[in-house]
């Protein structure tokens, strides 16, 4: 039993989640926009026609690594293990195309849409969760990762 949750950090997860919720709430109540990272990225890079102003999009995207540095400095060294770069490149391509075709990712659909009880976002979230679970299961069986 203990092995299942051996690596879990529920308290860190909850604190992090509340901060993410506050971030999305600030975007909603402050700027009247959805904090969807894929949409904001497309907007900043000029690959989306509508959305927040490009300066706002860039500021949000600059804030992400800034907050990450501050949090990492406060918490000490953070563990992170990445896949080899060819895997990351293929995955990045799928994420880039997929989030545009599906109009959102974990932040826009998963956090902002699900909390709004949007049917589209709940279906999108269920779909990418199922696809992610299947992908991890298959790569584990194949011993590819």
């Amino acid at each position: 039993m203990s092995s299942i949750f051996a690596n879990a950090q529920p308290l860190h997860g909850l604190v992090g989640g509340v901060l993410i919720g506050l971030a999305a709430a600030l975007m909603l109540l402050g700027a009247g926009r959805i904090a969807g990272v894929s949409g904001i990225t497309a907007r900043a890079t000029g690959l989306a026609e509508s959305g927040m102003s490009r300066s706002s999009a860039w500021l949000f995207l600059m804030g992400l690594p800034l907050g990450a540095i501050l949090a990492a400095a406060a918490m000490g060294t953070q563990k992170a293990s990445f896949a080899p770069w060819p895997v990351l490149a293929i995955a990045g391509l799928l994420v880039g195309i997929g989030t545009r075709v599906g109009s959102g990712c974990t932040s826009g659909h998963g956090v902002c849409g699900v909390s709004r009880l949007s049917a589209r976002s709940m279906v999108a979230t269920a779909t990418f969760m199922a696809a992610g679970i299947a992908t991890v299961a298959i790569t584990t069986i194949l011993g590819a990762r």
């Binding site: 949750f5 997860g13 990450a68 994420v95 545009r100």
Partner: protein
């Protein structure tokens, strides 16, 4: 001063978001894959991240419903589509496959540009390339229709 009122919320929101992702452990792809590893050694941490974020946002939506306009803006500009279509499902499935392969989604990937730039660059670069490919295909389809 008026400009600052508009520029500060997105920067602060991004920073809170990046800090939350880091504290929640989402900038470690192994932890994200651990959450998706339902049939292996499941790591429930991401469920707490999602839960915390969704609860706070559910309260924010209730506040939003009583507001005429955002605090630092002229009007709310929110998605209003309610239909379910093939694109929503196909796109989400493609995204999920990439998410599962790398253990990265757009937020943590961009936040990690500060923590592990060399490691995440191939992902972020390919992600923007994928978005550009989608844009090209979209523009091509529009031209065919016109």
């Amino acid at each position: 001063m008026d400009r600052l009122r508009h520029l500060l919320p997105p920067l602060l929101s991004g920073a809170l978001f990046g800090g939350g992702l880091t504290i929640g452990g989402m900038t470690d792809p192994a932890r994200v894959r651990g959450f998706l590893d339902l049939f292996g050694s499941w790591d429930p941490t991401l469920a707490f991240v999602m839960g915390g974020a969704v609860i706070v946002m559910a309260i924010a939506w209730r506040l939003q419903a009583r507001m005429v306009r955002p605090l630092f803006g002229e009007r709310f500009a929110l998605p209003d589509r309610t239909d379910l279509d093939g694109k929503l499902i196909t796109g989400s499935a493609l995204f999920g496959i990439g998410w599962g392969l790398a253990g990265l989604c757009p937020g943590p990937a961009i936040a990690s540009l500060a923590l592990a730039p060399a490691a995440v660059f191939p992902f972020v670069g390919a992600m923007i390339l994928g978005m550009a490919l989608h844009r090209l295909l979209e523009m091509g389809a529009a031209r065919v229709q016109a």
